[in-house]
């Protein structure tokens, strides 16, 4: 048993209508890599925010090295040796690495000092990073290193990491894990939050599982199967997506040399993408974010105009068709960003149902909206995809990210499209909901639809796709059958070297 670093005793935090944490008690040892597991809304975020001084508990206490620990704000938590790397980076693209790090420090040293300190920390922990580089040019993995180094410069005793691997390639994940193990061996404890249970099994030595704000179990992830952990999180048997034997039919969607200029300054140009997707087939497209995923979805959904003779549905050129004309022909899409793109946050779920389903579900008649029918469709989506909300008249922004994601994906799937294009379908969604979304995609394909699934979650692509292709710098490599591909091969397909960067042109 390790020496105690941080003890949480009976932490409770209630918000109007929901108890986020209820009597949470556990201990993190010195140098321990401790996993915090739970579904969306289980209370993980609230708990780490409490430790980091962003949330004040209603009752309960924390002990740091045996002394009472009540951080009033993150500054106090950092001063006591707590560091946190958030899921979303807070970096300025236009500034260089050292400047970004200095911005996050209370008393930044002169730049020459800082640069040499950054260099020494990055060398010590195997995090290669040049302090003079502009952050806008860094890959997601390198950006994360900036955040980690920013924490390490404060000599933390506990490092909290929230979903750190969701944007990394397998090789980058391996590098990160080496760093974390090194930190642990030097006595820094790590509180690690992730939905990826296999990662937790390779990295963590202890796991605390939260469900509905309560600690429902602890385990040693090295000796517990991912399935068992998932079932502890969900509190019931986990359903694994099954791929009912299917036969690829005729080609539904065909891209022939699809090219398009970058739609904005930080966008990616699509370069001569060719792909054909057959009925009954799921093609998985992997790649690090920012390599043309958004642009590919926009070109397919009809949101971004493309030239003629590039996109064919059933052999028919649909390059000039509007989004609704494409939907009428059976092509539906779900972009990655839920708030403000796939859904309008200030509108109700009923209105958001109308957003894409007006054509296929015949929600309008002579231009007049049949609200009762739209509400009915929204209700169906809510029920079928287990969207946690009081009802379809609630604003989309009142839903948690994972729940809104379920709604957005469900809305497209329930329109029974013939071709479905999804980007990051399970992003931010918990294990059981992710499994049901994947199952729905498989079922859709089994019914004869062609599915294009763009994702950064390689496990997901391995699980559901029949063929896999990598998108890199706006270019799509020729797809290969998923069967027999190893994670390592895929990682190489995505761009190769462990220090990969998206190609910049």
């Amino acid at each position: 048993m390790r020496e105690k670093l941080l003890e949480l005793k009976g932490l409770t935090k209630a918000y109007p209508g929901v108890v986020a944490n209820s009597d949470v008690t556990f201990t993190i040892g010195k140098g321990e890599i401790h996993a915090l597991l739970g579904e969306n809304g289980a209370g993980k975020s609230t708990l780490v925010k409490t430790i980091y001084g962003l949330v004040k508990p209603d009752t309960g206490t924390m002990l740091l090295d045996g002394a009472e620990f009540r951080p009033a704000e993150p500054k106090a938590a950092r001063a006591s040796g707590i560091g946190m790397v958030f899921q979303h980076f807070s970096l300025f693209d236009a500034l260089n690495v050292a400047e970004n790090i200095a911005l996050g420090m209370e008393n930044p040293p002169p730049f020459s000092d800082l640069s040499s300190r950054i260099k020494s920390v990055s060398e010590t922990y195997g995090l290669p990073l040049d302090p003079a580089r502009i952050v806008g040019d860094l890959s997601a993995g390198e950006r994360q290193r900036v955040e980690i180094i920013r924490c390490l410069l404060q000599d933390p005793r506990l490092l909290i990491m929230d979903e750190p691997t969701s944007v990394l390639t397998p090789q980058e994940v391996a590098t990160l894990f080496d760093t974390l193990r090194l930190l642990s061996s030097k006595g820094t404890a790590i509180l690690y939050i992730s939905h990826k249970l296999e990662e937790i099994r390779t990295l963590c030595e202890h796991a605390t599982i939260l469900r509905l704000g309560k600690v429902v179990g602890t385990c040693d992830p090295r000796e517990t199967s991912a399935r068992d952990m998932a079932e502890m999180m969900v509190g019931s048997k986990l359903h694994t997506p099954t791929n009912a034997g299917k036969k690829a039919g005729e080609v539904l969607l065909e891209l022939k040399g699809l090219s398009a200029p970058a739609p904005h300054r930080f966008g990616t140009a699509l370069k001569s993408i060719s792909l054909s997707v057959r009925s009954g087939e799921i093609v998985g497209i992997g790649g690090v974010a920012g390599n043309g995923q958004d642009e590919l979805v926009a070109a397919l959904s009809g949101e971004m105009g493309t030239g003629a003779q590039m996109i064919f549905l059933d052999g028919r050129d649909i390059g000039a068709a509007s989004p609704n004309e494409r939907r009428a022909l059976g092509l539906c899409a779900a972009p990655e960003e839920r708030n403000g793109h796939a859904a309008a946050p200030d509108m109700t779920l009923t209105e958001n149902a109308l957003l894409t389903a007006r054509t296929r579900k015949q929600l309008t008649k002579n231009g007049f909206v049949d609200w009762e029918k739209a509400r009915e469709f929204a209700r169906d989506v809510i029920a079928a995809f287990d969207v946690r909300t009081p009802g379809p008249e609630n604003a989309a922004r009142s839903l948690s990210g994972g729940n809104l994601q379920k709604f957005v994906i469900g809305r497209e799937i329930m329109q029974k499209p013939r071709v479905l294009v999804v980007n990051q379908p399970t992003w931010g969604v918990d294990a059981s909901a992710a499994a049901s979304i994947r199952q729905a995609l498989l079922d859709l394909a089994a019914e004869g639809a062609a599915v294009v699934c763009i994702s950064q979650d390689l496990d997901e692509l391995m699980e559901i796709s029949d063929r896999f292709a990598a998108l890199n710098g706006g270019e799509l490599a020729a797809p290969r059958p998923t069967e027999g591909l190893t994670v390592e091969t895929i990682g190489l397909m995505l761009g190769g070297a462990h220090d990969m960067e998206p190609a910049h042109v």
Binding site: A333, G340, H341, A344, D346, G367, V369, A395
Partner: protein
């Protein structure tokens, strides 16, 4: 201390409560203002809000309130579509003036023919078309050359103002007017006149059109695909593009609606209450309508009430000026307070105020 907390969704109570609270606040603040100016605050408030509608001479004032409210409502309804979609037509005043010119020009070209069944509808149609065409200038420039519609539409107001002055002493000048500027009085041209439907009531066809526009806008916004697209484009432009809303078409349609309704207001005004094309025809209805649109929270029913309220403060303000010697600036200030408190109170719809007790924070 106070702390603002964003509501998970807009409060239903405050959506309706906020404007009422704003009016109450304005009256309280206004009473303070009047008291400082040495006037009886209760009396001043009564003269402004009560007398025009229910006072001793209300029979004379009420038609004025109606005549002033109708064009404000008609123009504001048109503007509300664009404003909801993030398309800023600031030049309704210009479209209003052009509508009056084109409508009057058409009517006068038939003078003195007697064929009301033909001339009156054509006059109204040309008024609407004039406003529409004038609004298409900034709209097309925006769509094809990415110019800023705020600047272009605003500058076209000044062009329209010069144009109407030129018309008053040029092409449309009354040939029997002994060289005086100004056109023939359309109220005396039976084929094109827009008189009160019931003499002395102030209710002319423009008032009917304003009420119809409120109903039509309400139906469009709540029941029709177009209203949904407008709201969606305003709230989440990317979601609108994903949904299939064509931004260029939306700009053209919204500008066309606001231009046509402003033109309508202009032609009803020139054939009715004002009667003549004159250099002094500009009335700032086009600009005041922007305030009406926002005061009414871009909602048709809100705009109806806001139009009446603003017209009331004009007429009541005049009364207070005459009978109590209240300075005109105080009335302007009072109208400003109204907009100010509404925008302030608006916060409550999306945020709630929480009391933060100092002791418990630690």
């Amino acid at each position: 201390m106070f702390k603002l907390e964003k509501r998970p969704q807009p409060s239903k109570v405050w959506t309706f409560g906020a404007p009422i609270l704003a009016v109450v606040l304005t009256i309280i603040l206004g009473m303070g203002l009047f008291a400082i100016l040495g006037k009886d605050p209760i009396l001043a408030t009564k003269v402004i809000f009560w007398d025009p509608l229910f006072g001793e001479f209300a029979d004379l004032d009420r038609p004025d309130v109606i005549k002033k409210a109708a064009p404000l409502i008609l123009i504001a309804i048109g503007l509300s579509f664009g404003f909801r979609a993030g398309i800023w037509n600031i030049g309704a005043e210009g479209q209003y003036i052009i509508g009056a010119i084109t409508g009057a020009a058409l009517a006068l070209s038939f003078y003195p023919m007697e064929a009301r069944w033909l001339i009156f509808p054509l006059t109204i149609l040309f008024g609407a078309l004039g406003g529409l065409v004038w609004a298409m200038i900034p709209a097309l420039l925006r769509v094809y050359f990415k110019t800023n519609e705020i600047l272009v539409s605003l500058m076209l107001v000044y062009v329209a103002e010069v144009l109407i002055k030129a018309m008053a002493i040029g092409a449309l000048r009354d040939p029997d007017g002994f060289g005086m500027p100004g056109s023939r009085d359309l109220r005396r041209f039976a084929s094109a006149a827009n008189p009160d439907l019931i003499t002395g009531s102030g209710i002319h066809l423009g008032v009917v059109a304003a009420l119809l526009s409120v109903v039509a806008a309400y139906i469009a916004l709540t029941r029709h695909q177009f209203g949904f697209d407008v709201r969606l484009a305003g709230q989440s432009p990317r979601a609108a593009a994903f949904s299939g809303v064509n931004p260029s078409r939306l700009i053209l349609v919204c500008m066309a609606i606001s231009g046509a309704l402003a033109g309508l207001a202009g032609v009803f005004e020139v054939t009715g209450p004002s009667g003549k094309i004159l250099g002094s025809f500009p009335t700032y209805y086009g600009f005041t309508a922007i305030i009406v649109a926002f005061l009414g929270r871009l909602h048709p029913v809100g705009i109806l009430l806001a139009g009446i309220l603003l017209a009331l403060t004009y007429i009541g303000g005049n009364l207070a000026e005459q009978s109590l010697g209240l300075p005109a600036a105080a009335i302007k200030c009072f109208q400003g307070l109204l907009l100010f408190s509404l925008l302030g109170v608006d916060l409550l719809t999306n945020y709630r105020i929480k009391l933060r007790s100092k002791g418990k924070a630690q």
